[in-house]
């Protein structure tokens, strides 16, 4: 009889323990782990940006008819459904004036080794607005603060699918809440997804130098570089990478263009 009583008490204790887990309606969300220390990228004194006098500009074109983007179904969240008309399709391929937007353009080789570039003190912000990430594609430097903001009156869950940096997955149940994070290691690209809203996606390029940008309207881009010979890479989430070599001297203004077509495909 005593054994039975003891067993019954233990069982009730287990049930009570499980039922008691969790607080009330907390609106706080854990800040994702800081991905590294605050030391500037590279070593030694920071690079003097006034020496980046050469300008490399260009256009990323699309040859032929760009493929249609997938339609987006937002009915799983009534709040998002209210804004469905704003974004009827995914943002995978955005072509304007024959140019491809949202292409990360960066220096993939040619920068002098061991050069330190100061970490910008300003934070980069990605906002979840009307159930979409704004911006869709962006760049950031290592150890620069990225503020993830929920601009919607609905739950979002930002999941960063990094491979070289620690992944994180943070719930943001409250409008205007901000979760800061940083990336310690250069990585291109780092996909960002919302586990609640499957159509939401963004990409970030993490660099240890400031010589990168994202193509804008008309597929145009511009980089300011110090004199030297560089490999410039263009990366698109669907069409993959293209590279070009360029040599610039002080105050040079040079142009380099990239062209994608429907057969180009990003590596898995």
């Amino acid at each position: 009889m005593q054994k039975r009583t003891l067993f019954l008490c233990a069982s009730f204790l287990v049930v009570a323990l499980v039922a008691g887990c969790g607080g009330g309606g907390s609106t706080e969300s854990p800040i994702p782990p800081a991905a590294g220390g605050g030391a500037p990228a590279g070593g030694g004194a920071a690079f003097d940006m006034s020496k980046a006098t050469a300008t490399v500009s260009g256009k990323i074109s699309f040859d032929g008819m760009p493929p249609a983007n997938d339609k987006v179904q937002m009915s799983s969240d009534p709040y998002c459904q209210m804004h469905a008309a704003d974004y009827p399709t995914a943002e995978t391929v955005k072509v304007s004036d024959g140019g491809v937007e949202n292409v990360i353009v960066y220096v993939s080789s040619g920068l002098p080794a061991g050069t330190s570039y100061g970490t910008p003190s300003n934070a980069v912000e990605i906002v979840q607005q009307n159930c979409h990430y704004i911006p869709h594609v962006f760049t950031i430097m290592t150890n620069q603060t990225l503020n993830v903001k929920n601009g919607d009156m609905t739950l979002h869950n930002i999941h960063v699918w990094a491979e070289k940096n620690p992944q994180f997955n943070v719930g943001q149940p409250v409008k205007d809440m901000v979760s800061p994070t940083k990336f310690a290691t250069p990585e291109v690209p780092v996909p960002i997804r919302c586990d609640v809203h499957k159509w939401m996606g963004a990409f970030v390029g993490v660099f240890d130098n400031p010589f990168n940008t994202v193509s804008g309207s008309g597929g145009k881009f511009e980089l300011k570089l110090p004199p030297g010979t560089y490999e410039i890479t263009a990366w698109h989430e669907k069409f993959g990478k293209k590279t070009a070599m360029i040599t610039v001297a002080d105050n040079d203004k040079k142009e380099t263009n990239f062209t994608y077509n429907a057969n180009d495909k990003a590596a898995d």
């Binding site: 609905t154 869950n157 999941h159």
Partner: protein
């Protein structure tokens, strides 16, 4: 004469049905890629999971949170069953079997939490899936051994000269199904489900070029399907030929045969539809039902061939 405790048996059956439903709901979570829609555990976006507002069950949260609630319900029912068993059940081994089931479902809950906390590592997700099947078998065993038929004693069958005794054949089939389920879970949680996107050929061949680990895992699951099907057909043929007079064996054997045909169809449809949510999840559930039926058949086969320990009910000490 011992009380039949029919209510206890019915409760065990209810738990088994709820567990099957939970396996389906859990399958939906993976099929809709909602496993990380709720990034914290055991809370839900900071709320106690039982007080999370229904208005916030949006998108993937609906599947993941529902899964947690159904799992909690199954856990609670298991606690009730365990307490009830310790009060009413006279057979010590049945009480401890129920306790083992309770331990398994608690472990299952912990693994479920770990999958979320560690962002779905493949091995934890696979263990979580396999524990679900193990728990399902334990609950089926409890339903079987608390049944009036079992307690009164299943009819003993005449022994036959067989190269492989029927109970061994049933056990082999159950083991093969379980291994196949492990392979299926591994395939799902390593995203190898469409590593071979065509069927019945594999990358245009009967045996595909093994260009990646995912192709190997996927193909192993297809080979496993062939092995399992052969064993089930063999088992059914044996029972239909030699034991058709025993409905306690024939009916589950026939059910198993029907289920494996459905399962093969669902597997093909899953590939053809590029893992559409419903057929994929139905494939998970049907796999569990094949396992459950095979396990039930094995228990009965052992009981009816006199290969089990006598069911004399000891006095409670």
């Amino acid at each position: 004469m011992q009380d039949e405790n029919i209510s206890l048996h019915r409760f065990a059956v209810l738990l088994a049905c709820c567990t099957a439903f939970l396996i389906f709901v859990g399958g939906l979570v993976t099929s809709t890629q909602s496993g990380l829609s709720v990034p914290d555990w055991p809370t839900t976006y900071g709320w106690n999971m039982f007080t999370f507002p229904f208005s916030k069950w949006v998108g993937g949260i609906f599947y993941e949170h529902s899964h947690r609630l159904v799992a909690s319900t199954v856990g609670f029912l298991t606690v009730v069953l365990t307490i009830w068993m310790w009060i009413k059940e006279q057979r010590r081994w049945v009480r401890w079997l129920t306790t083992a089931a309770l331990g398994t479902v608690i472990m299952q809950g912990i693994f479920g939490g770990l999958t979320v906390i560690f962002l779905l590592p493949a091995w934890i997700s696979t263990v979580h899936a396999c524990l679900a099947q193990t728990f399902f078998c334990l609950v089926i065993a409890l339903a079987v051994v608390t049944s009036p038929q079992w307690k009164h004693g299943l009819p003993l069958m005449k022994s036959r000269a067989e190269s492989i005794p029927v109970q061994t054949l049933c056990a082999m089939t159950t083991a093969a199904v379980y291994i196949q389920l492990i392979m299926g879970a591994l395939m799902r949680h390593t995203n190898a489900g469409l590593a071979i996107p065509d069927f019945p050929l594999a990358l245009g061949h009967i045996i595909p070029p093994f260009t990646s680990n995912k192709v190997i895992i996927h193909f192993a699951h297809r080979v496993g399907a062939v092995v399992v099907t052969c064993l089930i057909v063999w088992t059914f043929s044996r029972i239909a030929r030699s034991y058709s007079d025993y409905p306690l064996l024939f009916r589950p054997a026939l059910t198993m045969l029907v289920l494996v045909c459905v399962q093969l169809s669902l597997g093909a449809i899953t590939v053809w539809t590029a893992k559409a949510v419903f057929p994929t999840t139905a494939h998970v559930l049907t796999g569990a039902l094949v396992l459950g039926t095979s396990f039930l058949l094995t228990l009965r086969a052992y009981a009816m061939t006199g290969a089990h320990i006598s069911e004399a009910v000891p006095a409670w000490k």
